[in-house]
Symmetry: C2
Subunit: 411 residues, 2 copies
Amino acid sequence: MRSGINGDRLWARLMAMAEIGATPEGGSCRQTLSDADEAGRALFLDWCAARRYQRRRDRIGNLFLRRAGGDAEAAPVLIGSHLDTQPTGGRFDGVLGVLAGLEVLETLDELAVETDRPIDLCVWTNEEGCRFQPAMMGSGVACGVLDMETVLAARDHGGTMLADEIARHGYDGEPLPQLADAACYIELHIEQGPILEAEGKTIGVVTGGQGIRWYEISVVGEESHAGPVPMALRKDPVPVLMHLIGLVQAIGHIDEDARCTVGRIELSPGAINVVPGRADMTVDLRHPDAAVLETMHRRFIDGLETLRRGHPDIDLQGRQIWHSPVVAFDDTLVRLVRESAAARSLPFRDIVSGAGHDAFNLARRVPTTMIFVPCRDGISHNPREYATPADVTAGANVLLDVVCALTCGDR
Amino acid sequence: MRSGINGDRLWARLMAMAEIGATPEGGSCRQTLSDADEAGRALFLDWCAARRYQRRRDRIGNLFLRRAGGDAEAAPVLIGSHLDTQPTGGRFDGVLGVLAGLEVLETLDELAVETDRPIDLCVWTNEEGCRFQPAMMGSGVACGVLDMETVLAARDHGGTMLADEIARHGYDGEPLPQLADAACYIELHIEQGPILEAEGKTIGVVTGGQGIRWYEISVVGEESHAGPVPMALRKDPVPVLMHLIGLVQAIGHIDEDARCTVGRIELSPGAINVVPGRADMTVDLRHPDAAVLETMHRRFIDGLETLRRGHPDIDLQGRQIWHSPVVAFDDTLVRLVRESAAARSLPFRDIVSGAGHDAFNLARRVPTTMIFVPCRDGISHNPREYATPADVTAGANVLLDVVCALTCGDR
């Protein structure tokens, strides 16, 4: 179909939602389960109220708005994303996928399309993970990746327990939906990276998610005074830290898809005139190809061992603290996105998601894919986060087309 | 003279003083102008009370105990150090110089020696600088290096003003002593480094103090997500940080007297999955030779410039925040220390002080030198700080001999 969603309405709603928890810098702060998050959901439900979508909410606060299809028993197509933000969040991350999903439902209403199966618009709780860890919590619980009782016991920095916030908002303990019964899941999102913009592409056809490995490294030497102790007699962890950075950088250039990041470094005690006794750092390795990520992992572990042997006075310890395997999205859905972009003459390219998304959890249970649109300068989690109205509309139209292809019997 | 101080009494007093502000780990915490610092001074004054030393105290709390000499108008010889400690201080830093000074005075009493000039035992306020900045404050004010009114306005982390602590302890506003009238100043101290122990030397003949330059460096790139942004499109400050560490390390090997330290590194925002937007680091360069330190400085500044040109996407800024020039101690006094050690058949070597001391301030006004004794593993500012009774006694005896040589008319 060449009909389209109402781009002006979608943009107006994105801007209206951004006013909930608006920050002085032009972004939004709606951390999960806060009053602002609840107010954002209330605004969203107000917009839904004019339609007769069936509304459900599960015990972790995930919202499901169902537009009925011809066969009420048929496996539903799921679309959606999240409405919570980082403390310094922008106007598009997550919100776009939810409000574009609502556009899809309303456009089908307005075009009087009867789909052959239900469409569920999902709003996942706590995708961001900034207030309560871990991230992608609502989809994780719904997909059986996370344990409900464990996450209910999570506490924020102020000591508030997640279960108490759930109760405060009156989430009423409906049973979890049977996600395994769904037909598939499609999520529209901003890229959160610079590739589409740099290459002038409107649509990112997301073929999967990078595998991720996280490490914590400690380099323990001996604290000493910066004056009296000769260089040769020091047990300074900083030169080892330098070699570690070099190792991570070298691994980052194994090919153009590799991503290697040193995000945190701490020296103890951290005084200008004290040779540190200890350095701590974190390493984040990512690659879309599981075999290459394994090679990167081995190279890193071997590099640590070489450094350890080369610095017998230093106690160098590294441990992997997390491994998120490579995610491959569903070939059929990926092809559908590609075809939909082509049919609308939108410039597109295949892309692998570098960030984590609820779709990664869904992909463990049902055929899944994502659609990316460009975001300016690749900036996200920031008040400067921006996507153009034209790209937002284009992304929502591709979502509409894919949903139609999946639900209108013309596959 | 081959008579000596009372080593047992000196050791017993060092251990007794360590009980004032004793910490569970076996060290002492007597931060300047605290109740514990005042209690330490009170214990010291108790020990002095049996003798008829003239006692003075100036407006910044520096204490002066004078043992009279034959000519009351002759320029006094000054000895001493400090009684305040770091929060995690040891039993010897500063305390040794004060209590060994008291030993010298009492030993002269016990030997019924009449010196030809007065001897002033000095206890300088706030050498450590951990509670109120800057360090070496009492000697700095006394020597005119620091302005009294400025330092009186200093506040600790809790907001307490130094002037209020001075008033609370009843320091009574006597005029500052005329230090320029003194004959000389000699300070005994632990080395706070590993050289004497490593070479089996008992006495460090301190020929001067290293020059010190401090720098603050900021490396500003652009914060981005560790997943989506390709390595080639990042503006990551961490690789530049790596080159900076390499630059500092290379300068540290210009010769064996150079000391180069990266003491603090901070990445912002400092999250495992975020490419940092900014790195901050500190650099401490030291050398005993002013010309070499200048070369090190130039090499560092030139290296910054080269890095800046090589990374046009990164905003690299460095500024020198402190320069303490090289200190050269008095040749005659240095020779006297050397001769005194040799006369007692104590192994000795020339050494340059890497740490700052009150003696650096005194050296601007009067002929000055220091005497070092070894400290175990070079560890100081730490409960594990330790010097042997034999070395402590040896150092105090060298101080005694030098004072006698300066005051007994046999120079």
